[in-house]
Every structure is written in C-alpha cells, then in structure tokens.
C-alpha cells in the first residue's frame, strides 16, 4: 500500500512539475511589436494553445516528449500538416473534425512561435515562421 502511495506521490509531483513548466511557455515574438500588438499576439497564442489542448493533445500530449507536454514539432512537420489541412487530406485530424481555417492557423501559429528549451532537446530546430496571420 505504501508503495502505491509513494508511487502516486512521485507521479503527481512529476505531473505537477510538468504543469508548472507549461505555464512558462515563451514565444518568439515578432520584432518591434508595440504593447498592443504584443497583447494581441499573446491572445492569439493562448487561443492556439487552448485549441491544441482540446483537439490535439489527446494523442500528441502528455505521453510524448515535450517538457511542457506539447511535442516539439519540426518546421517540416508543421508545414506538411498545414499542407494536408489545406488540401483536405481525409487522414488529417483537423480536416476530419472540420476545423475552421482560423482555428487551424491559431494552432499552427502557436506551434510555430513557441520557444522550446533547446538545451533539453538538442536535436530540435525550431520551425521557422511559415504561417502568416491575417
């Protein structure tokens, strides 16, 4: 029984520590943004993060590699996935659940602008901004 409690404790600490880092997500902000633009940018990011949690993290979530519980997608992955969405690939989850363009590009924008701790992920190269917001 003690073992179970100990294991649960360790697990919750692990989970909690992950949650903590999740709050500290930093973004690659467009250079020269003023205060209002920064605010709008962060709102867009928060929207993307929420949509990600609701629609993607079921599979690409806590059990995968990222410290903030969101995997570090490469530029190529983001690009390919966007292309699949645009051409209506029926294997593309966002197409299957009929996500709107706005919603989809909020998520891609979030994944693109998010800065990942590269000291932990040495093979990781952040995606270059491929998606333009309207």
């Amino acid at each position: 029984m003690r073992k179970i409690i100990a294991a649960t404790l360790v697990l919750s600490i692990l989970v909690l520590s992950r949650c903590k880092t999740h709050e500290k997500v930093v973004y690659n902000m467009p250079a020269g943004s003023n205060k209002e633009e920064k605010k709008a940018f962060l709102e867009k990011m928060a929207k993307g993060a929420e949509l990600y949690k609701a629609n993607c993290s079921g599979c690409h979530g806590i059990f995968t590699k990222g410290l903030d519980s969101i995997p570090n997608f490469t530029h190529e992955q983001v690009d390919n996935y966007s292309s699949g969405f645009l051409r209506g690939d029926q294997k593309n989850h966002a197409v299957v659940i009929k996500m709107s363009n706005d919603q989809f590009f909020s998520i891609m924008g979030f994944l693109t602008a998010r800065i990942v701790d590269t000291t932990v992920h040495q093979n990781y190269h952040p995606p270059k901004p491929a998606v333009q917001f309207n």
Binding site: E50, L86, R87, G88, K98, S100, D102, Q103
Partner: protein, 632 residues
C-alpha cells in the same frame, strides 16, 4: 549481385509498364507536333491568308495531340497547363489557397492564345510573338517528364483523380468552347479525345489489374462514345443535355464509387474541395462550400447547433447589430425575396438618403463562392458579415457597441455563455460568436434543388424548351464558358476558385456610359481587373431581380439582350479589357425564349421561414422599442 539484379529488374519493371510507356509516347507525340508547328510558323508567310491557314492547320493538329494527354496534364500540373493551353494571356489568382496570399499574376501561353493571336492581330502580326507562345508551351511540357510528376504514375490513385477531373471537364468545359477559339473544332476534338482517353483506360487496365475501371464504367463509356460519334460536329447542334445526363453524370458516379472502393488518396492541392461521397455532379455536396460554422466549427452536438441557429435567426432580424438600432441583415437581404432586395437597384445607404453602390446579392447559394462580395474582398462568410455590420455606409455599427447591446439582452447573454463553453479557446464572448451564428443560420437556404437538378439527379422530366435552352446555354449563347456547371456560378472544375469577368455593364439602361464602379480593381489594382466583378450564380434568377452589380437591368430580357449584343463593347461603350466576347451572339427570338425557359428551370424550391415574432428583451429600456427586421 543477385540482389542487385533483382533491384534492377524491379526498377526496370516499374518504369516500363504499358501505362507509363503510353504516357511517355503520348507526350512525345504532342512534343513532335509542337516542334512541327514551330517550323511551320518559321516558314510561313504570315502576310498572306494562305500562310496563316498553314499555321492554323498546324495548331489544329497539335491541339488533337494535346487532347490525347489533357487527361493527365490538367490534373498533374494545372498551373503549368496554363502555359500549354491557357485561356487568357493574364490571369489573377484562382485557387482558394491563394486566399492566404496576395493575388498574383499568371501568364498564359500555348495553342489557344496562339490561335486567338492569329485571329485578332490583323496586320500587326509579329512572328516572334507567335513563336514565343509556342516555345513557352514547349518548355512547359518538360515539367511532365520530371520525376515529381512521373512518380505519381506508379500507383493507381492519381488515375481515378485525373479521371474525375476529366469527367467534370466533360460536363463543364470541353463541350462549351472554353479553351477552343474555333467553335467548329469543339465536337471533332471531343470525339478524338474520348477515343484517346479510352486508350489511356486500356493501358492503365493492363498495368494495374488490381485497380481496374469496372466493367459497368467501360461499358457506359463505350456507349457515351457511340452517342458522341453520331452527334453532329456543330456544337450548337450537339445534345449537351443528354450527354451530361445519360453519360457524363453516371460515369462520374461510378468513378466516385471506385475512388471509395480503392480508397484513393489525393496528394494534390487540386481537388481538395471535392467530396468523395458525392454521387452526382448536381448534388450540392459536390464540393465543400464556405465554412458557415466559423467559430462553432468543432461543435457536433446537434441540440446546441440548433440553438445556435435559432440565435442566428434572431440576430439576422435584430436592429441591435446596427449603429442606429434601425437596420438589420434583412433590411437588404429580404427573407421572402431569396434574401435579396428585388425592389431596389441598390439599397439605401445607412444615412437613409443616399444609395449604396452595389446591388444586394442573394444569400441563397452564396456559400458556393470561394471569394465573397462582388469584388471578392472577403475569404470567409464571417468576415463578410462583420464587414457589413461595421461598415459606416451599411449597418454603421461599432463592434464594442454591438456586443454591449446584444449582451444587454438576457436571452442572448445566456445563450452565448452556453456557446462559450463549446469554444474553450475563447475566454469571453466575441464578435465571432455573433457573426458565426448569423452565417450558420442562413446557410440552410442554400440546400435546395431546382427542376433542372431533379431532371439530372432523379430522372424527372424537363420541358423540351428548357432542354433546348440548356443546349444553347452550353453552346451558341456562350453562357457556360463563365457560368459553370453545376452551380452556374464562376467556379470552374475542380471547384477551388472564384472567377471575375469584365463584361461592360452600363451605368444606365440607355447605355450612356460604362458603370464607374471599378470592381475587383479596388482589391487588386491590375489592368485586367478594372471593372471586373465576380461571376454571378444563375440559380433563382427569376426571383432575384434586378441584375448586374449595380442592378441596372430589371428584366432578364434586358440581360439577354445585353449579352446578345456582345456586352458593353457590343453596345458601343469603350471597354478595352472586356473579357466577354464582343461579337453578337445572333440569338433568335425563339432561342432567347428557350434560354429563358432553361434559366427558369434553375429556380429552386427554397422554403423560407417567417420572421421571429419578437426579439430578446434588453435591460436598456430604450432598446426595447426596436422592431423585428428594423425600419429601413
């Protein structure tokens, strides 16, 4: 060593299937014709009719070899195809993808443009320009031998997708003269093309025995060929209606079945709007329309969706969306008039004194446009709705003010708070929640069918006049080269872009001058877009008068007369960039009557709803005197 030879054997095998060989040899047959044509032009004396005649014959020969490979070329690299047989010298943005980018320019080249150049240039004919048009098309053809293209030929998937586009083009383009300047060649070319495509089918069947075209398809295709072969060569005498109804549409249905059966996957950006589960070209599910759900896209709960629709309906009739609490969506989009205003050429300005510059478009079937507003300034229904609400000349509202007023009504507030739970990405109720509810409401009215659709889909009878009218529509009257089957709007196969045309609409009925509205030019400043407007949808035409962007014509007879005369130019107005043919159509009175009869067969049995009895009560007493539908 053994392994190496095995690999070689497989590599050899993959490259030399009968299908691949037929592809390569057909391509080189066209290439040879291009080369011959170049020599022809070099040798020809273009100052004499005989010299021009020799070049024209060369173009005609080359066109036939092109038609033999059109099946592949159009699908595999549609942008490059415009260099081989482009319909226009300059085209601006077509595909919906480009909605995410600024419009950009595409230069066309190839056979059709060379032929038009020969026809129109007169004494200014420059041999170099003509040679250039063919040289560009020669270079473009090289794309089709690149690995990126030929690698697709190794699996069967592309074949059924090429075939789908081929069938859609048979329905909408190949029989109408869309890319064939000499009308006399349309049907002879069709006859040859159908035979050549059967050879493609045969070589494919040999190479991919596991993913064959079904027997019922091949049998019906053979019958379609027999039908076409006994039809007259004059496209005006060709029975477009029967061809489409009895052959092309059923072939499309079988091909769709095979796409599902073989689990065909597209890797192309060319057909992403096409719906694999649709079994008729005239089913409204043929291509994915605009997203009417907007922010509510991810909601599946039908009970919540019907609540959203109900709120959307209230908003549609609610003057709170306007700056002076007197105007609503229904002020211009009248719900009993196919969501347009049949009484006014253009609706009142917000000031209730002046008039707006453009006629109110019907909202019925508006979702089938990929670009919205007559100048295509919007890419989503929600942005369009937001624009109208906040436009000082239209509803004159301010976003924050509208939100405050709406949320001052308990009924709205409770509803939107509930909807907010289904859109977790938003922390508070947004303007998008309002706009998306409105667009979700009115999209339902685009789901109805017309007697013409019923004839195509359900074998219901269609009057002989309407059938004749359709045949005219597809041929002599030249309507179908811009108003494409099946929506009869400006969206051509593969249904991914909206087109704009310059037809020279006058400012008034006496044709004193051209309408001063620059149209698409306001969005994209290019010579070609001056006075261009998005091609209208012809469904429900009888009930959606007045016509044209400025509502200048009040009857369809006036509209037909305008086109019959050759548009603005034909009516002696100066329209240097008119994209409509400037020649008279020479329609007889009987033909005009038949054409009208066909147009009337596109009236849809739309069921409209009564306005809501009352609007939600606001906590601000002064707002409660507002009227359902507004004041003007």
């Amino acid at each position: 060593m053994v392994l190496f030879s095995l690999i070689c054997l497989f590599a050899f095998k993959a490259e030399h299937t009968p299908y691949n060989e037929y592809y390569q040899s057909s391509l080189s047959r066209f290439s040879t014709e291009q080369e011959k044509l170049l020599l022809n032009i070099k040798d020809a004396d273009l100052t004499t009719p005989a010299g021009i005649g020799v070049v024209k014959t060369g173009i005609k020969q080359a066109r036939l070899k092109l038609k033999a490979i059109d099946f592949w070329l159009r699908y595999l690299e549609p942008v490059v195809y415009k260099k081989i047989n482009g319909p226009l010298p300059v085209e601006w943005e077509n595909e919906v993808f480009e909605k995410f980018e600024k419009p950009y320019k595409r230069l066309g080249a190839g056979l059709s443009l060379a032929e038009l150049y020969l026809n129109n240039k007169g004494s200014d004919l420059q041999k170099d320009s003509l040679l250039q048009l063919i040289r560009i098309s020669q270079n473009a053809l090289n794309t089709y031998t690149a690995d990126s293209v030929t690698s697709q030929l190794k699996t069967p998937d592309h074949f059924f997708l090429c075939n789908r586009l081929y069938l859609l083009n048979l329905a909408a383009i190949y029989t109408t003269g869309f890319e064939c300047p000499d009308n006399g060649n349309i049907i002879p070319e069709l006859k040859v093309m159908m035979q050549d495509v059967r050879k493609i089918y045969a070589s494919f069947g040999q190479s991919f025995p596991g993913a064959k075209l079904s027997d019922d398809y091949l049998e019906l295709y053979a019958r379609a060929m027999t039908f076409v072969n006994v039809q007259p060569d004059d496209f005006e005498q060709f029975d477009h209606f029967t061809f489409l109804k009895e052959y092309v549409n059923p072939l499309f249905a079988i091909n769709q079945r095979l796409i599902r059966q073989y689990n065909v996957i597209s890797v192309s950006f060319n057909d992403y709007t096409l719906n694999n589960s649709c079994n008729s070209i005239f089913d409204k599910s043929l291509y994915t329309p605009q997203n009417s759900m907007g922010i509510y896209s991810l909601i599946e709960d039908t009970a919540v969706l019907s609540e959203i629709r109900a709120v959307g309906k209230l908003l549609f009739y609610d003057p709170l969306l306007s700056g002076n609490n007197s105007r609503t969506c229904v002020s211009c989009h009248k719900s009993k008039e196919y969501f347009t205003d049949t009484a006014m050429a253009t609706s009142f300005n917000f000031d209730h004194i002046h008039f707006l510059p453009r006629n109110t478009p019907s909202l019925v079937n508006v979702i089938y446009n990929h670009l919205l507003m007559l100048d295509g300034r919007h890419i989503s229904l929600q942005n369009q709705a937001k624009d109208v609400m906040t436009n000082p000349a239209e509803m004159g509202g301010k976003k924050e003010d509208i939100m405050d007023k709406i949320l001052s009504c308990k009924e709205y507030k409770t509803a939107f708070r509930k909807f907010l739970k289904y859109t977790p990405e938003e922390k508070e109720i947004t303007f998008d929640h309002i706009a998306s509810a409105i667009t979700y409401y009115y999209k339902d009215f685009s789901g109805y069918y017309s007697p013409f659709d019923d004839a195509m889909n359900q074998n219901r009878p269609l009057s002989p006049d309407a059938r004749k009218g359709f045949n005219l529509f597809m041929s002599k009257a030249q309507c179908a080269t811009c108003h494409y089957v099946p929506q009869f709007n400006g969206v051509p196969p593969p249904y991914i872009g909206s087109e704009f045309e310059v037809i020279g609409v006058p400012a008034d009925i006496s044709y004193s001058k051209l309408s001063e509205d620059s149209g698409r030019y306001k969005i994209n400043t290019a010579y070609e877009t001056m006075n261009a407007f998005r091609t209208g949808n012809l469904r429900n035409l009888e009930y959606t008068k007045p016509y044209m962007h400025n509502g200048v014509f009040t009857t369809l007879d006036q509209v037909i007369d305008f086109y019959d005369a050759g548009g603005g130019t034909g009516k002696k107005l100066s329209v240097p960039n008119q994209s409509l043919s400037t020649d008279s159509l020479k329609l007889t009175a009987t033909e005009k009557k038949e054409l009208l009869s066909f147009l009337h067969s596109l009236n849809e049995a739309v069921i409209f709803e009564n306005p809501p009895g009352s609007l939600p009560v606001s906590s601000r007493k002064e707002l409660n005197s507002r009227r359902v539908g507004g004041d003007y």
